[in-house]
C-alpha cells in the first residue's frame, strides 16, 4: 500500500504541473499513468510538433515541454507508476483506497483526475470475432518476439510499428503485411525496405486490402482479407498483429459516480472539485462554463486543485498564500540553498 497525500491520475502536462503545485504547498503525491512514459498527449501524439502558446515560452515541442515539467518537479521526488491504469476507488473513512490494473494500491486523502480524454489504449480491429483471439493469437503489442519463430504472421497497419515489426520478424517468420492503401505513414526508409523484402520474396505485401474476418477454433488458423475492388483472399496465419496506434478511452473513470457530461467531468471553478468531495478534475477532462482545452488552462486548474486538496490532507493546518520568490518554506521544499 502506497500512502501519500494526493494521487494524481494522468501524467500529462496538467498532472505534472499539479504535482509541482502540491509540492510547493508541502503536500506529497504520486502519479499513475497508463502510458509507459510521462507527457500525455504531448508525448504520445505530438512529441516533435512545436507549441507556441505556453506563457513565457515562445516555442517548445511536446517533448521539450514534458522534459521541462519533469525537470521542474524534480525537487519533490514524485513517484511515478507507469503502465498502470487506475481501475477502482473506494472511500475508507476519510480517505480513498485506490487500485490499479496491475494491483498497485494507494491510501490517499484526495484524488486529482488529470486524465485528459482518457487513458491511451491500442486501437482494435473492427471485426467482431477478433475479441475471441485477443491475447492468444491476435495481439496489439509484442512483449516476447520469440513466440513468432518459424510461424506465419499477418501484420495489419501502415505506420512505423507495422513496418518495423514486419521487417524485424521477416528474419525468423513468414510475414504478411496488409495495409488499406498503397501509401504508408511510416518512415520512407522502412517503406523502401519492406518493398525490397517483398521483391526478394522474403515478405508478402498486400496493399488495398483490409481484414474481412478471422477463421479458427481456439487459435487463429487463417485470416480473410478483402481488396478495395471486392476480391477476397484467405491467408494462413498463426498470429495476427494489428498496429493502428492508440486511442483515448475514458474507461473506469465513468463508473465512479462522477457527473459526466460529453466525456468530461463537471467541476466547480473555485477548486476544481467534482460532485464527489476530495476528488478533483483538471485539464482536458474537466468541464465548466468557458473551459478551454489548452495546456495553460490546465496549469491554472492544477494550481487551484492543489490548494483544494490541502484541507483534506492536513485538516488541522491552515494554508497561507505565499510567493515562491519570497517564501522560505517553498524554497526549502524546492531544495534551494542560499
Amino acid at each position: 500500500m502506497n500512502k501519500t497525500d494526493v494521487l494524481i491520475i494522468g501524467a500529462g502536462p496538467t498532472g505534472l504541473f499539479c504535482a509541482h503545485q502540491l509540492g510547493i504547498i508541502g503536500l506529497s503525491c504520486e502519479i499513475v499513468d497508463n502510458l509507459d512514459k510521462a507527457g500525455g498527449q504531448c508525448i504520445e501524439l505530438y512529441p516533435d510538433k512545436p507549441i507556441y502558446d505556453i506563457p513565457a515560452v515562445p516555442e517548445c515541442t511536446g517533448e521539450e515541454l514534458t522534459n521541462n515539467l519533469l525537470q521542474q518537479i524534480k525537487p519533490f521526488n514524485v513517484k511515478f507508476h507507469l503502465n498502470e491504469r487506475v481501475e477502482e476507488i473506494k472511500k475508507v473513512e476519510n480517505r480513498w483506497n485506490v487500485k490499479t490494473s496491475g494491483g498497485v494500491e494507494f491510501d490517499v486523502a484526495a484524488i486529482v483526475i488529470a486524465g485528459g480524454v482518457g487513458s491511451f489504449e491500442p486501437r482494435k480491429f473492427s471485426v467482431k470475432e477478433c475479441d475471441k483471439y485477443e491475447g492468444n493469437s491476435l495481439l496489439y503489442s509484442i512483449k516476447d518476439k520469440t513466440i513468432f519463430k518459424d510461424k506465419t504472421i499477418s501484420i495489419f497497419g501502415g505506420g512505423d510499428s507495422a513496418l518495423d515489426w514486419a521487417i524485424e520478424l521477416s528474419n525468423t517468420s513468414k510475414v504478411n503485411l496488409i495495409h488499406r492503401r498503397d501509401g504508408f505513414s511510416g518512415a520512407e526508409s522502412s517503406v523502401q525496405k519492406v518493398k525490397q523484402l517483398h521483391e526478394q520474396g522474403k515478405l508478402n505485401l498486400f496493399t488495398k486490402y483490409q481484414m474481412e474476418s478471422v477463421v479458427g477454433d481456439k487459435k487463429i488458423d487463417s485470416v480473410k482479407i478483402k481488396h478495395d475492388e471486392g476480391e477476397t483472399k484467405e491467408i494462413k496465419s498463426d498470429y495476427v498483429l494489428g498496429f493502428f496506434g492508440l486511442i483515448m478511452q475514458l474507461g473506469p473513470i465513468l463508473d465512479w459516480g462522477l457527473n459526466i457530461n460529453k466525456k468530461t467531468v463537471e467541476v466547480n471553478t473555485e477548486s476544481f472539485e467534482t460532485n464527489i468531495s476530495s476528488i478533483f478534475a483538471i485539464g482536458d477532462i474537466c468541464s465548466y462554463p468557458g473551459k478551454l482545452k489548452l495546456i495553460l488552462s490546465g496549469f491554472h486548474e492544477g494550481a487551484l486543485a492543489a490548494r483544494g486538496c490541502f484541507k483534506y490532507a492536513k485538516p488541522n493546518e491552515k494554508l497561507r498564500f505565499e510567493f515562491t520568490t519570497t517564501s522560505k518554506a517553498a524554497q526549502e521544499r524546492l531544495g534551494i540553498k542560499k
Binding site: V117, R123, R181, G183, S185, K263, K293
Partner: protein
C-alpha cells in the same frame, strides 16, 4: 452558411446549418450530433471525427492535406470515401453536403 446532413448509424438524419469557417466536426459537436467524438479537438491526431462522404461530394471537397490519409489508416473501418470531418472547413460551396457517420469511432 451551409446546410449539412449527417446520417447516423441508427438510421437517423440530422440536417443542421453550420457557419462558414467552422469545421464540419465543430458544427456536429456543437449540435450534439451523436457519433462524432473528436477526441483531439481537431488536431488531426485521433481519427474519431471520421465520416463517409456521399460519393457525389467526394470530388467537390477540398483535397486532403498531408497527414489526413495517414490518420485515416487508424480510423474505424476506413473506406475510399472516408474523410476527417475536422479537416472539412465549411463554406458556401459545401451547402448540401451529406455524410454518413460510422457505427463506431473506435
Amino acid at each position: 452558411m451551409a446546410k449539412i446532413t449527417f446520417n447516423t448509424h441508427d438510421n437517423n438524419t440530422h440536417t443542421i446549418d453550420i457557419q462558414n469557417g467552422l469545421s464540419v466536426m465543430e458544427g456536429a459537436v456543437q449540435n450534439d450530433i451523436p457519433g462524432i467524438d473528436a477526441d483531439c479537438g481537431g488536431g488531426m491526431a485521433c481519427a474519431t471525427c471520421h465520416v463517409y462522404v456521399k460519393d457525389e461530394w467526394l470530388n467537390k471537397l477540398p483535397a486532403k492535406e498531408d497527414g489526413e490519409e495517414d490518420m485515416l489508416d487508424m480510423a474505424f473501418e476506413p473506406k475510399n470515401n472516408s474523410r476527417l470531418s475536422c479537416q472539412l472547413i465549411v463554406s458556401d460551396e459545401l451547402d448540401g453536403l451529406e455524410v454518413n457517420i460510422p457505427s463506431k469511432q473506435a
